[in-house]
């Protein structure tokens, strides 16, 4: 009897002292698969750190971004760990909104992090966010369809070849589009792809004096090509397809080719999630005039806002979620194709991963080759492959993205769309004081 009473009491006592000390970490993250896995596995972190409680705020990408920016810019202090991208990290760091993440412990093996990825998250030589997963872009294609049409994939496909192939494998009667590409407007959606296309056609966003060049010949060629390609051989409703929609289409066998993020490889190669796992081929992102900037560099990373009141605990969590140990844990529990890619050299030296992911070296090369500081044929005043690392780019990119989508649906001609985009961009740049 006595014992029976004593035990729960002891339990309550232990719990209450714990609760009194426990620090609550509010982690804001995006609802992508890799982060959903992180949320699921975080119980291991809580077990190892009984004094830290995790509170999750999981939101869709656009909502998350606006929510985090409002909070950090007004010093709201609602979050302790923020999931941000290569675009935000240097801009926010410059404004003093993020904690620098220097002097990482030896056990964390900071040297193992892939350099261009970490550089992209640094400002003034100091890292301000640690990469959770990183990606470049590449081409996926259906080996079976290529074989049937008698097409030989080349080491470095060109866009002209791609159009030719698309015409051969396009088969709308069987719900197979020749090629799927992003069409959903947004700086992180269609413009990520479109910018790499413009880069390889020799175009750029701005000249050295920040004058926009959207009405230039290179843009016109690239966009005309893109619009014609998708209208002739793209899936129905291409203008509302973003990364997720295309991933679903390709994995269900509705696309012959797809040029998009390397992070899709693990999902497409996983037979549980994809109907085309056994017929999947890879190639570098196609090029046109120049190979420069033909594939992008992006990472989702974890950062600690200066307004956090639990910075030490937040640092514990960030270094846990981006560690080698975490990657091994995902490999063991979720399967090695589900491992967050692109952040650590050790991932690519791991035999399990190499065995499970035949695309591994391919992805590593693409990431290491992408150079945000030299991504255009002509010189530019900005860094970034598929982004322009200035705060105004969110709105510029999204407005231009809308115009490109309008050209894609035929609501406007390509010329009209580009001249509207040029005008809107010039207005924004003038207002922000880049152009006097």
């Amino acid at each position: 009897m006595k014992l029976k009473h004593a035990l729960p009491l002891a339990g309550i006592a232990a719990f209450s002292t714990l609760a009194a000390q426990a620090e609550t970490l509010t982690v804001a993250t995006v609802n992508n698969n890799d982060m959903v896995i992180m949320q699921r596995l975080s119980s291991a972190f809580e077990e190892a750190h009984p004094d830290i409680d995790l509170e999750w705020v999981v939101l869709e990408e656009n909502v998350l971004r606006q929510r985090l920016t409002t909070d950090i810019a007004t010093n709201g202090g609602q979050f302790d760990v923020m999931t941000i991208g290569t675009y935000e990290a240097p801009i926010w760091a410059e404004r003093g909104w993020l904690e620098p993440l220097q002097d990482l412990p030896e056990a964390y093996k900071p040297d193992d992090l892939i350099k261009p990825v970490l550089d992209g998250l640094s400002y003034d030589g100091k890292p301000y966010a640690l990469p959770f997963y990183a990606e470049s872009s590449m081409m996926y294609y259906r080996k079976d369809l290529f074989e049937k049409a008698g097409i030989e994939m080349t080491d470095q496909p060109t866009w002209t070849e791609v159009r030719d192939w698309a015409s051969k494998i396009n088969d709308p009667d069987n719900d197979v589009a020749g090629i799927c590409l992003r069409g959903k407007p947004g700086w992180g959606e269609n413009m990520a792809f479109v910018t790499t296309l413009v880069n390889t056609y020799g175009g750029r966003w701005f000249d050295m004096d920040w004058n926009p060049e959207i009405d230039s010949k290179a843009w016109n060629e690239a966009i005309t090509f893109y619009v014609d390609l998708l209208n002739d051989y793209g899936p129905a409703g291409a203008s509302s397809n973003g990364f997720n929609e295309n991933l679903a289409l390709f994995s269900r066998g509705n696309c012959g080719m797809w040029v998009d993020a390397t992070s899709a490889a693990g999902k497409l190669y996983n037979p549980d999630e994809s109907d085309v796992a056994s017929k999947l081929g890879f190639a570098p992102a196609p090029v046109a005039q120049t190979p420069k900037g033909s594939h992008w560099l992006w990472s989702w990373a974890l950062a600690i806002p200066s307004s956090s009141d639990a910075k030490d605990a937040a640092r514990e969590f960030v270094t846990w979620a981006t560690s080698q140990e975490y990657i091994s844990m995902v490999g063991e529990k979720e399967g090695w194709t589900s491992v967050p890619p692109g952040t650590r050299q050790s991932t690519y030296k791991n035999d399990h991963y190499q065995e499970a992911a035949p695309f591994a070296d391919f992805v590593l090369d693409a990431i290491e080759e992408a150079d945000p500081t030299d991504a255009t044929l002509k010189p530019v005043p900005y860094t970034g492959v598929q982004i322009v690392s200035i705060p105004e780019f969110q709105s510029v990119g999204t407005q231009v993205g809308q115009m490109i989508a309008a050209a894609l649906t035929g609501e406007m001609s390509v010329e009209q769309a580009l001249s509207n985009a040029q005008r809107a961009t010039r207005r924004t740049m003038e207002r922000a004081g880049y152009i006097k």
Binding site: N32, N33, E60, Q66, F243, A248
Partner: protein
């Protein structure tokens, strides 16, 4: 010539077809929640073996009950608060109107036409400084103020139609205004107050802008819950449908159960 039975049958058939078409998206969403992800994107079919997998996965990712509880507290709390503030004011506007009453009413309603995003930054700064960010209290206050104009206006139209002589009789007896309100007015206007309250609950439950922007983890209601399932990677229609079904189920059932009250209240006042 026209056979009344045939006519009635035709009317019934037409009404049922229309009812089915209008209800179909909701029906389809509920159905999709019980499918697997692959079935959800396949050609529409009514034949499949229902599974609770999507519900289980959705629940594993985010605790539905926490969000639902926040929704309940905020929706009912703000409605109660709005009614308490609005009843005296609507009362005085309808029984003791002045020249400015009309103007005040219209002005109140016009405050509702301002897109909330225009004042987000000022409100966010205000909430940060008063510590109301991510609190149920903060959200309740916003919803109260958000619905106050509609609540005042609806109550005003209900009260205006009440027979004035009852109150005159009360005055003769020397009843104070407070007693007037309490003993005479309230019983007469319960249906009107109830239907106004129901409308306010529904509007608060479904509000998605302030709830997303002013909460993070502690006070997030169901609209924030939906935002974490709206477009993730891979196939998500079944999960989205399951989450959506859970998010609207309480208010839908609530609406069905109280539909009679709502109608009775409305008949009484605004739309007689």
């Amino acid at each position: 010539m026209t056979n009344p039975t045939v006519k009635r049958f035709a009317i019934g058939l037409l009404a049922w077809v229309i009812a089915f078409v209008i209800f179909f998206p909701i029906f389809w969403m509920v159905l999709t929640g019980f499918k697997t992800e692959t079935e959800a994107v396949a050609d529409p079919s009514l034949i499949f073996s229902p599974t609770l997998d999507s519900y289980a996965e959705v629940q594993q990712r985010a605790d539905y009950f926490k969000f639902a509880w926040n929704s309940v507290v905020v929706a009912f709390g703000s409605t109660l608060l709005a009614l308490i503030i609005a009843i005296p004011s609507a009362y005085s506007m309808s029984f003791l109107p002045t020249k400015r009453t009309k103007g005040t009413l219209l002005w109140m309603l016009s405050t509702k036409m301002l897109p909330p995003v225009g004042v987000l930054v000022p409100i966010y700064l205000l909430f940060r400084d008063t510590g109301l960010l991510d609190t149920k209290l903060g959200l309740t206050i916003v919803y109260t103020l958000m619905n106050l104009p509609i609540v005042v206006w609806m109550l005003y139209t209900f009260f205006k139609d009440l027979p004035k002589d009852i109150l005159e009789a009360g005055r003769m007896d020397g009843a104070s205004t407070f007693q007037e309100v309490w003993h005479l007015l309230l019983p007469l206007t319960v249906p009107g107050i109830a239907s106004t309250g129901l409308l306010s609950v529904i509007l608060s439950w479904n509000e998605a802008f302030w709830s997303l922007n002013l909460t993070s983890s502690q006070a997030a209601p169901l609209t924030a819950y939906i935002a974490s399932f709206s477009s993730p990677e891979g196939l998500f229609w079944a999960k989205l449908s399951a989450a959506s079904t859970m998010a609207i189920a309480p208010i839908l059932v609530f609406g069905w159960l109280t539909q009679k009250q709502m109608v009775r209240g409305l008949t009484f006042g605004a739309v007689k």
